[in-house]
């Protein structure tokens, strides 16, 4: 290199970061909401539903906990019956089910492995069998495996991340298509890291970019049928996924990098999904909503 960039010295710059969470780590994915402390806030008791999703049927993958749980509860408040697809977190799923049922709505729990296409198809057939129809599909389930550098991402991890985060969107949506009609909608959860990139989650952020483009392409593909396709890109949110993937020492200051200097709570995500699921957004398709405390402003 022809140029030199001499350093004259150093200027120390410090920041006081608010600590909101005790250090904690869960060894397995998906994580368990029951074992988190403090518990994520997933319900706004002051929220009054007005039947925005009255008698609609919504499938929410990863609906047992985290953002998916908050979405399930809010959709139920707005009058929807809920199908929750989850892996094996039975206790989390039962808690969410009880909240949905407390709203007077039905809740079908479907535990299984989204990496299997046959299970993805079964989700749709079971939903139709139970409720007779499908109106809203929320593709939300995901895994993320923290690694320091590309060299530490094994082929196995890479494939698994895409098998859970991306391919089921193709499988489930494909199986759902024959049942979706004019006015139905699809909502995919992407992430702020699709926009920012993230050096410790290279494979995860790639899957989230794929979901973004999938959302746009499907929006174009389904617009003649009157089916809207949109996404939500959460920033750092206090969910089981975080404690199950981040190093323990990163948890106390989790989310403080956002402009609001705090992590979001699942309850703060749910209205964005409701907006996209309801007739409040009839002229909206192919869009991503950013709920990230101001972390990224690229919309």
């Amino acid at each position: 290199m022809d140029f030199e960039f001499p350093i004259l010295g150093y200027h120390e710059q410090c920041q006081r970061l608010p600590v909101r969470f005790p250090a904690q780590h869960q060894p397995l994915q998906p994580g368990l909401e029951t074992e988190m402390y403090p518990k994520p806030v997933f319900d706004n008791p002051n929220y009054v539903g007005t039947g925005k999703l009255n008698n609609k049927v919504a499938i929410i993958t990863g609906g047992d906990s985290g953002i998916g749980r908050a979405v399930s509860v809010l959709f139920a408040k707005e009058g929807a019956d809920i199908v929750i697809v989850y892996y094996n977190e039975h206790e989390d799923a039962q808690i969410t089910k009880s909240y949905v049922e407390a709203q007077g709505r039905r809740c079908l729990l479907l535990p299984g492995d989204l990496t299997e296409e046959s299970f993805c198809q079964e989700i749709i057939s079971q939903t139709i069998q139970c409720f007779g129809k499908l109106d809203i599909l929320v593709n939300n389930a995901a895994v993320q495996f923290w690694q320091d550098g590309l060299e530490n991402i094994t082929a196995l991890q890479l494939y698994l991340t895409f098998q859970v985060n991306v391919f089921p969107l193709f499988f489930v949506t494909k199986a759902a298509l024959p049942y979706l009609r004019q006015g139905s909608c699809i909502i995919n959860t992407t992430s702020v890291v699709a926009y920012e990139g993230f050096e410790y989650l290279i494979d995860y952020s790639s899957t989230k970019g794929a979901i973004m483009a999938f959302t746009r392409s499907m929006a174009r593909s389904l617009v003649p049928k009157g089916i809207r396709v949109n996404g939500v890109a959460p920033g750092p949110i206090w969910t089981p996924l975080q404690v199950a993937s981040l190093p323990e020492q990163n948890i106390p200051i989790f989310g403080t990098e956002s402009l609001m200097k705090r992590a979001g709570q699942p309850v703060e995500l749910a209205p964005a999904y409701l907006y996209l699921a309801s007739d409040d957004s009839t002229y909206v398709t192919g869009q991503i909503l950013h709920v990230n405390g101001g972390l990224v402003m690229s919309s």
Binding site: G235, L259, P271, Y275, D280, S281, V284
Partner: protein, 300 residues
């Protein structure tokens, strides 16, 4: 050019049937009048039920007399807000909106004047405060658009007017409002799809809307420590008085058909987006633009 391109062998004709949505029409003055439009824009969704999301709040909406602004005022009122409408001189439109809001049991203050004038912007905020005692939601929505075929047709006077109305008024109004805004309050700016896609027939307008995008982001950073959220909405082609008042009559019938949804939006389809950004539903959202454009741009 040194590269030899393959010669054109012939042409293939490609035709498209564009749906006609509106009779051809033009209004000769800006801002346009909703009363003169045919068909009338749909600004209220009767199925939309308020639940007090903005109960006890005061909202100031510039350009609230008609178009998107009117639909926003109506939805805000349904959610329990009292409204201060700032408009230019469309008294009939403004009074119609006021009556509609008052019929819902909310208060509505009409403030008529020229947003190009900083003193008037301050006055609008002062009148709102003296009438309601507070201000919680500021919607900077008023805009003008003067289509021209080329940059050379955009006079300096037009350029200045466009920026004065669309952008500088936001600085003036927000500046005047700032001392009275508190944590939990919200500012919403109306930008446009043309900030993202560009518009060869509205170069100055789209530039002013691009400025609003960056203004929104910068102000979001500036006010986050005060707990005030700043966001924007980027409408696509929406059936508002601005359209017949700015586009030639023959463009109006197919307005918005270039969107994947192949239609214009109606003002009522924009209102819930503003409610979302104004209310606690979006407590973790700042510096963002929401796109309500029938899929016209997908770059969020």
């Amino acid at each position: 050019m040194n590269i030899q391109l393959p010669p054109i062998l012939g042409y293939q004709e490609q035709c498209e049937q564009l749906p006609l949505q509106f009779p051809s029409q033009h209004q000769s003055m800006q801002p346009g009048f909703e009363t003169l439009m045919e068909p009338k824009p749909i600004f209220d969704n009767p199925a939309y039920i308020g639940t007090g999301k903005l109960k006890g709040k005061i909202a100031l909406v510039t350009g609230g007399d008609s178009g998107i602004g009117r639909a926003v005022c109506v939805a805000f009122a349904k959610e329990g807000a009292d409204i201060s409408i700032v408009y230019y001189n469309e008294h009939e439109d403004a009074n119609n909106t006021k009556r509609y809001i008052e019929a819902m049991g909310c208060k509505c203050l009409l403030i008529s004047g020229d947003l190009r004038n900083e003193a008037f912007c301050c006055q609008a905020v002062e009148m709102t405060l003296s009438s309601f005692g507070r201000l919680d939601v500021l919607v900077n929505n008023a805009g003008v658009q003067f289509p021209q075929y080329s940059l050379t047709d955009i006079t300096t006077a037009q350029l200045e007017t466009t920026f004065q109305v669309n952008l500088f008024s936001m600085f003036h109004t927000t500046k005047a409002a700032l001392p009275f805004l508190k944590s939990g309050n919200s500012i919403i700016n109306t930008t446009s799809v043309s900030a993202y896609n560009g518009s060869e027939l509205a170069i100055d307008y789209s530039a002013s809307k691009g400025a609003i995008v960056s203004y929104t982001r910068a102000l979001a950073r500036s006010l986050v420590s005060s707990g005030i959220r700043v966001n924007g909405v980027a409408p696509g082609a929406v059936w508002t008085p601005l359209q017949p008042a700015s586009w030639p009559a023959d463009i109006v019938p197919t307005l918005g058909t270039e969107a994947p949804m192949r239609r214009s939006g109606q003002p009522f389809e924009l209102a819930p987006t503003y409610v979302y950004l104004a209310s606690d539903d979006s407590s973790y959202v700042t510096g963002q633009i929401l796109h309500v454009d029938g899929g016209l741009s997908m770059q969020s």
